[in-house]
């Protein structure tokens, strides 16, 4: 008896430990993410204040718009002002700077850290009185002395594979230039150390590139001891020409920069937070299940308590107290695990190239509160139902003899509620299939629909268990008596089976839905990109802030093998309701390089005052060919009525609207600029031709040269992230499901020791017992997987219609490989999870059959 009691206690402990683990995982993701966010924010702040360490006040031009206003660009920050500022009392040092941006080509010819366009810093090496620039201490070589030389920082040099003496290809905005690397400096600038690049020119060259000869973009002042930054700022402001320049303290700039860098590097939290949500949601089922099983197991004990006078409230409270303890310990464990995650995240997310600033882990009260709140809250909430169940225990149960068959479960109420939810959820989803676009309202509807639908499936799962498992049982039944017994065991307590399967149902459903939608969208984007593009090559700038210089456009057109070169100017289009993209094209060649599918009208009539628009835009504004649309082009001053000369099916190459290039370019961000050149070639694309094209644009790091395949891949590239998230969720779901399966099977083995003993006595060997338990696990996982698969497919079909409105050519495409993988993984995890309970069952002695209850 002692042995069984001990074994029960151990089994009990293991079961609670598994529950703890599930909650722990969720808490770990939440707290890990928050700690990581706090830590990086702190690191960014620290790095930013380091950047501005020696700067107390900075003087800049007022409203320094980097716009195209010629002449006024020079500003008032010249050498005269520098000299004047030196004389302001309390100023210890003055350092003028000339800042801009420059993109470099790495030694292998590819653009260096191209994904970080916002932190390609460039500036002037400004020697002080001692001939050295204190801001950029040289570590190697010497300072750039003329227009043909540059210096870079150590990080840039190692990332780009540069050595002193190398020729470096770079571009600031327009054409490409080459410089000789003469020096390597070190810098504390957070933008550079957080994965950017830095290029330093001599003062004259920098002024030519980024301001005007003799002019600076900023003047940094250091206060003398005894003068505070704000005092100095006040004194400096008094000297400055009022409307043309302003003074800012270094502290304010640091704060600003920290926020900027932080926002730019943000977004990392989303994925771990999704994981946290999924693991906690799925984990809550595990908690409900475990506590329900524990409560049921202790029915007699509870009944005895009730018989000797414990009130219902006391009974339910004791269960909740237990949940509190479990939740608390899970939260603490999860928090510690979360610290590990937070410490690891920079390495996982940062990769080799884009180093996130490292610093000590910052454990804010927010993280602690979230960990405890989430862990304890979820556990106690999930234990609430089982606690009510315990409270309902009748004192009479104590008198009953052991082997009472469980009372037949009634599902009438559950069935009614479940069907109600199903009708609501499915109805909402089906009604979406008529929707034509992915408006916010429709998306919200879709989310609510999916939520209701999932809830309905979970509610109905116990009712569906019997028919579905009977069906799958036909398969397992072929495996003889063990298969039949496994099926019957899974059917014995449909509620428990359903609750165990629910975790898999959710993860499989989520992943199936995402996989189908992602795959279908990817395929649609592929097709769209492929069908919308008539060109063989596209040369484009990485941002709309820069243009392709006219020389490069000419050289591209003159490249042997190029038949047509079609320059496009990209700009913005303000409609009454929002900002869209417009492409300025040439009506004569547009047909050649874009495959436009006109619903009405054509592109041939494009001219000043006339535009063609996409079907989406047309629908939104209720305009058709021949109508008028009030829009504002780029920098144009006011809304103008444009005549719509054509409506084409959404086309990613043409964007939302087409205008004549002359008109769009006149109002674009950089007037007269070109952002894309679409090329038709004489023959099929060859590597030699691609090389010639790259040479034509001078290997400009600001420009990309892509062929059709690369463009199509890029269009579908965004789906890659989704895929990662999806597999992450599947992984978490599967791990927690495995815990749940281990839990349930261990429980059912513990409950059936006598039965298993009898089977052993009657001649079933250990392998048979193991097979029976494994098949039971397989049946339960199969049930969850099937239901999840069906639900996910249905939801994907319904939600897909939203995509259908937003993306032309969207059709439901099933990713068979992924779906098969999901199924196999789920089933495999079932078998794997059954290993321990199966072994325990097989180790039971046939004497258990003879043991007296």
């Amino acid at each position: 008896m002692l042995r069984t009691a001990l074994r029960n206690l151990l089994a009990h402990k293991a079961r609670l430990a598994m529950t703890v683990l599930a909650v722990c995982l969720g808490v770990a993701f939440v707290s890990g993410t928050l700690v990581f966010a706090d830590s990086t924010a702190a690191a960014h702040r620290a790095a930013a204040s380091k950047t501005f360490a020696g700067i107390d006040v900075t003087v800049t031009d007022k409203a320094p718009e980097p716009g195209p206003d010629d002449g006024s660009r020079a500003g008032v920050l010249d050498d005269a002002l520098v000299t004047e500022l030196t004389r302001v009392p309390g100023v210890a040092a003055v350092r003028p700077s000339v800042d801009g941006s420059a993109t470099l080509n790495a030694a292998d010819g590819s653009p260096l850290r191209a994904d970080r366009a916002w932190s390609h810093l460039a500036g002037a090496y400004v020697p002080g009185k001692d001939g050295k620039d204190s801001r950029y201490p040289l570590t190697e070589g010497r300072a750039p002395a003329n227009g043909g030389e540059i210096a870079v920082d150590r990080g840039t040099a190692s990332a780009g594979g540069f050595r002193i003496g190398d020729t470096v290809t770079l571009a600031t905005d327009g054409p490409v230039t080459t410089k000789r690397l003469v020096g390597i400096v070190s810098t504390d600038d957070a933008r550079v150390t957080a994965g950017g690049t830095l290029a330093l020119f001599d003062k004259t060259t920098a002024q030519k590139l980024f301001s005007a000869p003799g002019h600076y973009t900023g003047i940094d002042l250091t206060a003398a001891p005894g003068t505070t930054a704000s005092e100095l700022a006040d004194r400096v402001t008094a000297v400055l020409p009022a409307d043309h320049a302003e003074a800012t303290t270094g502290q304010a700039q640091a704060a600003q920069q920290a926020i900027l860098v932080d926002t730019l590097t943000r977004g990392y939290e989303k994925v771990p937070m999704v994981f946290a949500g999924v693991s906690l949601f799925i984990g809550s089922f595990l908690i409900v299940n475990t506590f329900t099983m524990l409560v049921k197991r202790r029915t007699r004990e509870t009944a005895l308590l009730r018989a000797i006078g414990a009130s219902r409230r006391q009974v339910s409270r004791s269960v909740l107290l237990e949940a509190l303890v479990v939740g608390l310990s899970a939260s603490v464990a999860g928090f510690l695990l979360g610290l590990g995650i937070a410490a690891m995240l920079p390495h996982v997310l940062g990769g080799g190239d884009s180093a996130l600033p490292t610093g000590p882990l910052v454990i804010g009260p927010r993280s602690v509160a979230a960990a405890l709140g989430v862990g304890v809250g979820v556990t106690v909430l999930a234990a609430w139902l089982p606690s009510r169940l315990a409270a309902r225990t009748s004192p009479m149960e104590a008198m009953r003899t052991a082997e009472q068959p469980p009372p037949a479960q009634r599902f009438r109420l559950r069935g009614a509620v479940g069907v109600g939810l199903l009708v609501l959820g499915a109805g909402r989803l089906v009604s979406l299939s008529g929707a034509k676009d992915a408006s916010e309202e429709n998306l919200r509807d879709a989310m609510i629909g999916c939520g209701l639908f999932a809830a309905a499936l979970i509610m109905l799962a116990p009712l569906l268990a019997a028919p579905v498992i009977r069906l799958t049982g036909r398969l397992t039944g072929r495996l003889g008596v063990t298969g039949r017994l496994a099926r019957e065991n899974a059917l014995r307590d449909p509620r428990r089976t359903a609750a165990t399967a629910a975790t898999l149902l959710i993860s499989t459903g989520l992943v199936t839905g995402l996989a189908v939608i992602g795959h279908s969208t990817g395929q649609a984007l592929d097709r769209q990109a492929a069908t919308g593009l008539g060109a063989d090559y596209v040369v484009s700038t990485r941002s709309t802030m820069t243009g392709i210089d006219p020389g490069a456009v000419r050289r591209l057109a003159d490249t042997p093998g190029v038949r047509t070169a079609h320059p496009i100017t990209d700009s913005t289009l303000f409609t009454g309701s929002g900002v869209r993209q417009i492409s300025g094209a040439d009506p004569a060649t547009v047909r050649d390089t874009m495959k436009l599918d006109f619903v009405s009208g054509s592109a041939e009539d494009l001219a000043a005052g006339r535009i063609a628009i996409s079907t989406t835009l047309a629908r939104e504004h209720g305009v058709t060919t021949g109508g008028l649309l009030n829009v504002r082009l780029g920098h144009a001053g006011k809304l103008t009525a444009y005549k719509v000369v054509g409506v084409y099916k959404n086309n990613p190459v043409a964007h939302d609207a087409l205008g004549s290039r002359g008109e769009v370019a006149a109002n674009s961000f950089l007037p007269g600029s070109v952002q894309r050149v679409l090329l038709r070639t004489d023959g099929p694309p060859t590597a030699a031709l691609e090389n010639r094209l790259r040479t034509a644009v001078g290997n400009n790091p600001l420009l990309t040269v892509q062929n059709r395949d690369q463009l199509v891949r890029e269009a579908a590239g965004t789906m890659g992230d989704l895929l990662d998230v999806m597999y992450g969720m599947l992984g978490i779901g599967v791990v927690i499901s495995a815990l749940g399966i281990v839990n349930t099977l261990a429980m059912s083995v513990a409950e059936r020791t006598r039965e298993i003993g009898a089977l052993r006595a009657l001649g079933m060997d250990r392998a048979g017992i193991r097979r029976m338990i494994r098949l039971e696990a397989l049946t339960v996982t199969g049930f969850g997987t099937l239901l999840g698969l069906a639900g996910g497919l249905f939801a994907a079909w319904a939600v897909g219609s939203l995509a259908n409105g937003a993306i032309d050519q969207y059709t439901l495409v099933l990713p068979w490989g992924t779906l098969l993988l999901v199924c196999l993984l789920s089933l495999a995890i079932g078998v794997l999870a059954a290993a321990v309970p199966a072994r325990r069952a097989a180790a039971l002695s046939p004497l258990e059959a003879a043991a007296n209850a």
């Binding site: 068959p405 017994l485 059917l491 006598r754 039965e755 089977l759 009657l762 001649g763 079933m764």
Partner: protein, 257 residues
Amino acid sequence: MTADLLTSQPTTGIAAATTDLTKVYGSGDTRVVALDRVSIAFREGEFTAIMGPSGCGKSTLMHCAAGLDSPTSGSVRVGTTELARLGDRELTQLRRDRIGFVFQAFNLLPTLTALENITLPMDIAGRRPDRAWLDRVVSMVGLSDRLGHRPAQLSGGQQQRVAVARALASRPAIVFGDEPTGNLDSRAGAEVLGFLRDSVRELGQTVVMVTHDPVAAGYADRVVFLSDGRLVEEMARPTPDRVLDLMKSLGSRSHSG
């Protein structure tokens, strides 16, 4: 003093036998000798009852003889097979093919119907049951109209009849009963005992039953008495009164001694 005492029974062969069977639980201070060099033979076609006070080792003797438990020393044979040499797999097969069990707690699988429970040992073995034999056994225990029922839908007596049918259905060499009437009222108990005796008389089955009930022992052909792990007495053609008398005298003997 074992076999020779029974002259009336035609001694055809030995279904199972133990020689110097010893079973010890624990060690040191907690050492308990459950069986102390017990030698006994169960003849084919005979109904034997094993009796004795609680803790005398009668259940242990049966468990060892049936291959459910392993002896500390000594030998157990079923037919000509020496159990001590068998591994778990062979023992399992032996139980499946040559031994039938009737437990005090019935031990039917609640998820299977009565018929499925009866054919379970053969299903486990992957054998088809002998239809005619099965019908005979089922009709003998009077369950023909209850075969589709689940155990929960049957009374205790009916459940134990299913268990008896299960034990007989695979034509085992020997059937062991572990207090088969312990959970039944006297009428249902009498029924079950009747079936066991009929199986011996009509089907030529060998049955060994552990019991503490003199009335149950009265159904047997022979009763052996155990006390403190030793075989102490044996009685042929017992009646409840004679068994009771003997138990009383054994009890006073052990108290006085």
